[in-house]
């Protein structure tokens, strides 16, 4: 059996490769055939095939073998990419995912044969029977490489490498391709190779190698290996250096130019992917064949230096830093006392200095850990293109789906939550927004509808914009529908502004689709979208131009663990109001509070604002003072004012749960520890507004 760690690595790799194939198949469908993309898919399929065979998952191995066959044909150009084929491919990918679930025990027995059959029929449709490529586990056939003809992918500079070479040239470096052959009789192939790497790294940077650096240094290469080196030294120097290492038979150093002249001159489409097993097979091949090698670009693997860390570890780190912050504040206070007592004594100054420095370090530490918890929003966005494609196909729409700002980073908790609302909004955009192609043409729009998803930073928030160029929404129609569906009365609707009418789509029970489809239109969506986003302290707004499209703006906090809050005090107690829900604060006098029936209200700029007392909500005593403050809270279109004694100010607070014992308490969303070690309660402003807030509209009408 394989260890948990091995399993985990396998699963992670699997996930990664499936996503990679997925992305590339989409590219293939959109941009047509490209040798690079096909190569990429072929490699990924090959990797899965290899590792699943090693792990003993035969179904997966069989399926990926077929995928690989298909791409092998595509690579050789004996087949063309067609829509039915892409559909089969996606089906195969889905089956792969289910097979993965089967391994983890999350899914039952899976039958992969139907999909395999479909792939095979795809292959047959295109003519001659597929040439069976090598299959791991079986005694590998020697890859069909004609001696001397094999090209060196490594020296066929792709765009990235070309750019790098150009950049290096600007900085005064020369790119060399180097082929090193080690004495076949050496006992220490890996050591020699290691020495070559070490020596070369002293005189420049090794950009690429084939086989990969790991394989080479493990001695897993045949007679020799190839490298791309950037160095300031001239050709002779490099050659001499390598020759100075014992048991090196042959060194070839050639300058590498960006135009790729130094290559043997074959396109990447004809390369054959090689695994370590195959490399061993090459031992029996003619010497010339092994002379030059094709390489899989190993760049990503050598440049990214990351460690996977359990989120819980980050959480506990965060807690520890929190404690540090509290202690620091205490030291601050002691330092002040010291200063007061001993004045400008050296000791007092030292303590002050230490506490200042400690303060800086803890703040930095906190920032860094916060950053470590962040994930690029790409983890969610990557799943979407495939979904867009499926929906578009199902609904007969043509969609150009543009994704921007995938690198924008968000707290992982936020990322976990935004997926569903986003999927829903995109579905809506395609289903309700974008018109069918014929209609678009008739309207004088381009046949292909555009949906643009963009993430960007805005102050301490992230904004996700979803824009479509579909039919937009008509406020008048929305109002009509609202009355029809009994969401609102005709009178209430009549008083509504167009902007407010748009908000109607987020009212429960509201759906604008005339036909309920399985894609969208059940009328439960938008209000859930809103509540999910508000649950993580985000907001949703929308903008629409009838006939020209709709844009949604989703504003999200960067993190959930730390929020900005308005700190207020009421008697001895300190309360925190999440700033996202605070609209403004007002200083009022006792006598400004009016009564409407039994409710306290104040008039703010001609509008009536209902007031609530913390003492009433939380049933605590409260002495009334002459000068009071009102914190105006808002969520969606509801407003309330909360009466407090004193405003302390804005502050970043770390949200802590009240623990399992107390569980969820109405009106509170947690607690936080203040700089001086005191505990403050965080008011669940959103819940409060929802429960007690009155719709502004209703009041405005009075």
């Amino acid at each position: 059996m394989f260890s948990d760690v091995e399993m985990m690595v396998f699963m992670e790799e699997l996930e990664e490769k499936i996503q990679l194939i997925n992305d590339n198949v989409l590219l293939l469908e959109r941009d047509g055939e490209s040798p690079l993309v096909i190569q990429e898919i072929f490699r990924a399929a090959h990797t899965i095939k290899g590792s699943s065979a090693v792990m003993g998952y035969e179904k997966m191995s069989r399926l990926t073998h077929e995928i690989e066959n298909l791409f092998d044909r595509l690579r050789q150009g004996t087949m063309k990419v067609t829509t039915p084929m892409v559909n089969v491919l996606f089906e195969a990918l889905d089956t792969l995912k289910v097979l993965k679930e089967e391994i983890t025990g999350n899914a039952g027995e899976v039958d992969e044969t139907p999909v395999i059959g479909k792939i095979k029929s795809c292959l047959e449709d295109s003519g001659s029977a597929p040439a069976d490529t090598d299959y791991p586990g079986s005694t590998a056939k020697a890859p069909e490489i004609a001696a001397g003809q094999e090209t060196v992918d490594i020296f066929q500079p792709d765009e990235i490498l070309e750019n790098m070479i150009r950049e290096a040239e600007v900085r005064g470096y020369q790119a060399y391709k180097i082929y090193v052959e080690v004495d076949p009789d050496t006992q220490m192939k890996n050591v020699r190779a290691f020495l070559v790497f070490e020596s070369l790294q002293q005189m420049g940077d090794i950009i690429k190698s084939y086989p990969s650096a790991e394989e080479i240094q493990d001695g897993r290469f045949d007679k020799g290996f190839s490298l791309v080196l950037f160095s300031r030294e001239d050709q002779g120097e490099v050659t001499n250096l390598i020759m100075s290492i014992a048991e090196i038979n042959k060194v070839e150093v050639t300058p590498l130019e960006t135009n790729g002249e130094a290559t043997a001159g074959k396109t990447s489409g004809e390369h054959v992917e090689q695994t370590a097993q195959e490399t061993r097979v090459l031992n029996e091949m003619p010497k010339e064949a092994a002379e030059v090698r094709k390489a899989a670009p190993q760049m990503e693997r050598t440049t990214i230096k990351t460690v996977r860390v359990d989120v819980q570890k980050l959480d506990s780190l965060m807690n520890l830093v929190g404690e540090l912050v509290i202690d620091r504040t205490r030291i601050d206070r002691f330092a002040e006392i010291f200063e007061g007592k001993y004045g400008t004594d050296d000791l007092a100054e030292n303590i002050l200095e230490i506490s200042n420095h400690l303060g800086q370090v803890t703040t930095d530490l906190q920032d860094e850990i916060m950053k470590a918890r962040m994930l690029p929003v790409a983890t969610v966005f990557n799943r979407l293109p495939r979904m867009v494609r499926d929906i578009a196909q199902k609904l007969g729409r043509e969609i150009d789906f543009i994704v921007e700002g995938q690198e924008t980073e968000l707290d992982r908790n936020v990322i976990e939550i935004i997926g569903d609302p986003l999927i829903h909004l995109i579905r809506n955009a395609i289903d309700h927004g974008i018109e069918p192609p014929e209609e678009r043409v008739r309207l004088g729009k381009s046949r292909v509808g555009r949906v643009r998803l963009k993430a960007s930073y805005l102050e301490s928030h992230i904004v996700i914009t979803l824009e479509d160029d579909g039919q937009g929404m008509d406020p008048a129609k929305l109002k009509e529908l609202a009355v029809e569906k009994g969401v609102m009365t005709a009178e209430a609707v009549a008083r509504m502004s167009d902007r407010d009418a748009l908000e109607l789509i987020m009212a429960p029970g509201f759906s604008t689709a005339k036909v309920v489809s399985d894609v969208s239109g059940r009328g439960v969506g938008m209000d859930i979208v809103r509540s999910q986003i508000e649950q993580i302290n985000g907001t949703v707004e929308l903008d629409t131009v009838t006939g020209y499209g709709t844009t949604f703006f989703i504003k999200l906090p960067l993190t959930l663990a730390i929020i900005r809050a308005l700190m207020v005090s009421l008697g001895e107690q300190v309360f925190a109001f999440p700033l996202t829900n605070v609209q403004e604060t007002l200083a009022i006098k006792r006598e400004e509070i009016k009564m409407i029936r039994h409710n306290e209200v104040i008039v703010v700029r001609g509008r009536v604002l209902p007031l609530v007392r913390i003492s009433d909500i939380f049933k605590i005593e409260e002495a009334d003072e002459d000068r009071l403050y009102v914190v105006m809270l808002g969520s969606a279109d509801r407003r309330i004012g909360v009466v407090v004694h004193r405003l302390i100010g804005e502050q970043e607070i770390v949200i802590k749960s009240l623990g399992n014992y107390l569980g969820q308490i109405t009106g509170l969303s947690g607690a936080t520890i203040l700089g001086d070690g005191r505990v403050a309660l965080i008011v669940d402003a959103r819940g409060l507004v929802k429960e007690l807030g009155t719709e502004e509209l209703a009041y405005a009408a009075n």
């Binding site: 520890l320 649950q535 009240l658 399992n660 107390l662 509170l668 005191r678 403050a680």
Partner: protein, 163 residues
């Protein structure tokens, strides 16, 4: 040692309303002095509030109120015993903590049926040792009862997101 464990019991002994109680030492995290407690509205009346225990928010209950007695008088000898079960950490206010005691299991008797002071349900047994009597508390029952169940039934998912 393992022999001892089976035949002996080690408890933290504390006083509450002139009674001597014992609580299994394994569940005691630490014992701290009284500190300022922030009231939390909307909690059962025996919950005094929450404290900051070195960066952790810990709810604190008044044990005598939990037993249906009058609220504890806070004095210099008052202590908060922080106890921990599998998933719950809670502080309990007691009048004073006197010692840690080890006595054989044979000293423990089931609670006498006539103890009807309302807190009989929290009693695991009574220990007679060294001519003294200790009421041994059943922590699980103190922490998990009907009222607690009501609390835990509430959706804790929302809280998890915040943590």
């Amino acid at each position: 040692m393992s022999e001892n464990k089976r035949e002996e019991e080690q408890v933290v002994v504390f006083q509450l309303r002139n009674q001597t109680y014992g609580i299994d030492i394994d569940s005691v995290l630490e014992i701290i002095r009284m500190e300022s407690i922030v009231q939390v509205p909307g909690t059962p009346d025996f919950v005094e509030g929450i404290i900051n225990l070195r960066g952790r928010i810990i709810p604190v209950m008044d044990l005598s109120r939990r037993f249906g007695l009058e609220a504890a008088d806070i004095t210099v000898s008052s202590r908060i015993i922080i106890v921990e079960t599998s998933d719950i950490t809670v502080g309990m206010i007691v009048d004073s903590v006197s010692e840690v005691l080890r006595f054989p299991l044979s000293c423990i008797e089931p609670p006498p049926p006539m103890v009807g002071a309302g807190n009989v349900e929290f009693i695991r047994g009574v220990a007679l040792y060294d001519q003294r009597m200790f009421i041994l508390l059943d922590l699980a029952r103190i922490l998990v009862d009907d009222e607690k169940n009501v609390l835990s039934l509430m959706d804790t998912e929302a809280m998890k997101i915040l943590v």
